[in-house]
């Protein structure tokens, strides 16, 4: 049974340190709006800002270039800094879209990024950071579903920014909107798959089949 817990609802009678809860007098209470699965005890916060963790992927736009330092705008969160190493040669300019990994957390509004990858073309969408784990899905299943059906390439940042390029972008956009609105419901991947198969334009399906075929042909035996 899934149930919505509001701030102040008792989650557990023993102290548990989970995201979206706090402990008071040996009991655990919800501190945000949370979906509680009473069978498994799993908690899914429905709202909330992203608190950065190491190795999280982010997507942003370069807003400032200084000597060996690039500043990236991370919309909901704040900014990220890419510091050019001694042997790196980054050629980023203002307005470039990059995806990168969090290397270090500087302060509340600043993170240090590493492994930047420049993304060419495409569109950027912004969603609530609390919904990002659902867009990625368990072991990337959701992203894989969207990109395989629409033929688009996606880069999903934990800061709530998503980059979409190629394929049926409008279908991918609709899929992301559906996921954001219904992040707390179960069986979402299957529903998105059914929905996408209805709305994706036929020419992109052909494209996708072609791509899959190419991949199969290129596969070597030892793989």
């Amino acid at each position: 049974m899934k149930k919505i817990a509001i701030p102040g609802d008792e989650i557990s009678s023993i102290p548990k340190r989970v995201n979206g809860t706090y402990i008071d007098k040996g009991k655990t209470y919800a501190s945000t709006i949370t979906m509680v699965d009473s069978d498994t005890g799993h908690l899914l916060p429905l709202e909330g800002a992203w608190s950065p963790r190491l190795n999280d992927t982010v997507v942003g736009v370069v807003t400032m270039v200084k000597n060996h330092v690039y500043e990236v705008d991370l919309s909901h969160f704040g900014r990220g800094l890419i510091i050019e190493g001694k042997f790196d040669k980054l050629s980023l300019s203002v307005g470039d879209i990059v995806d990168a990994r969090v290397r270090d957390i500087e302060d509340r509004k600043t993170v240090i990024l590493e492994n930047p990858r420049k993304l060419y073309g495409g569109i950027l969408v912004s969603i609530k950071p609390a919904k990002v784990p659902r867009v990625i899905g368990k072991e990337n299943t959701m992203v894989k579903t969207i990109s395989s059906i629409t033929g688009s390439r996606l880069a999903v940042g934990y800061n709530g920014t998503i980059w979409i390029s190629g394929g049926d972008q409008s279908a991918a956009l609709i899929a992301i909107e559906v996921i954001e609105n219904e992040a707390h419901t179960s069986g979402l991947t299957e529903r998105v798959r059914i929905m996408l198969e209805k709305i994706v334009k036929p020419e992109f399906k052909e494209l996708q089949k072609q791509r899959e075929k190419n991949e199969r042909d290129n596969k070597t035996d030892w793989e």
């Binding site: 919505i4 509001i6 701030p7 102040g8 979206g20 706090y22 008071d24 209470y29 501190s31 945000t32 709006i33 916060p45 429905l46 709202e47 909330g48 800002a49 704040g78 302060d107 509340r108 509004k109 609390a130 559906v178 609105n181 219904e182 707390h184 419901t185 529903r191 929905m195």
Partner: protein, 248 residues
């Protein structure tokens, strides 16, 4: 406060002017998440009170010297629209009364928001009174609590607020404008329902100890109903989204 010389009759046949019992609330409706640009929002209708509450944040505190490196800073704005009242409220913008209410509301929220979770950040709370009919600070705080939960701000509890008045020897809950202006005493209260902690207590007029205790019993009883409406508003907001899925 009205003068006592031209005080209207507040009781008719043992009932209040609008036909309510002494422990009866006005009709209360709350809707969460109605402003798309805000991080969290709520619209409340409580009798003739209409309140719009919005929450922005946590964001970087401005001006910079305002920021506290150990905890979040809360900014609270209570404002009455110029068209909100029967009497002219004059120009829009903060006046002495609005500044006071903003301050007490801010202090009520400071006690439930887990400030240490957002060091160096600022949380903006806005309470706009679109139409007023007594007890607007209670309505504002009740709406803002829902908006805060909708924004995903970490809170210890979803607080509610309600006012209580004294009409002669009787205590009456949720006073409207006439009762508020001409009653012998009125007392707005904000409470954290998890442990019934008192977060706001103001009093205009006088109450005996017995009357105070009687009114607190009344408030805690009514608070259960208010908290239930707040919970329903939030549950509805998330289940509406669920309904859309089923249609597709």
């Amino acid at each position: 406060m009205g003068s006592s010389s031209n005080k209207p009759e507040l009781l008719k046949n043992g009932k209040r002017l609008d036909g309510r019992d002494f422990n009866e609330l006005r009709e209360l409706k709350i809707e969460a998440g109605i402003l798309k640009n805000a991080d969290g929002s709520a619209y409340l209708e409580w009798g003739n009170n209409k309140v719009l509450a919005a929450v922005y944040g946590p964001k970087e505190a401005v001006p910079k010297h305002f920021a506290d490196p150990t905890k979040a800073v809360i900014k609270c704005r209570y404002a009455m629209a110029p068209f909100s009242s029967l009497e002219d409220h004059g120009r829009t913008g903060p006046n002495r009364r609005a500044i006071e209410i903003s301050k007490v509301a801010k202090e009520a929220f400071e006690n439930v928001i887990i400030l240490n979770d957002y060091p160096g950040a600022q949380i903006d709370i806005f309470m706009e009174i679109l139409q007023s009919d007594g007890g607007t600070r209670a309505a504002g705080i009740t709406a803002a609590a829902v908006a805060l939960a909708n924004a995903g701000i970490h809170m210890r509890d979803l607080i509610y607020s309600v006012s209580v008045g004294r009409i002669g020897e009787h205590m009456a809950i949720d006073v409207n404008k006439i009762e508020d202006n001409y009653s012998d005493a009125d007392m707005p209260v904000a409470i954290s329902p998890r442990n019934n902690e008192l977060l706001l207590l103001q009093m205009d007029g006088g109450l005996t100890k017995k009357q105070y205790e009687e009114s607190m019993v009344m408030i805690l009883e009514a608070g259960k109903k208010i908290h239930e409406v707040q919970r329903k508003a939030l549950e509805d907001y998330y289940s509406i989204n669920k309904k859309n899925t089923e249609q597709e």
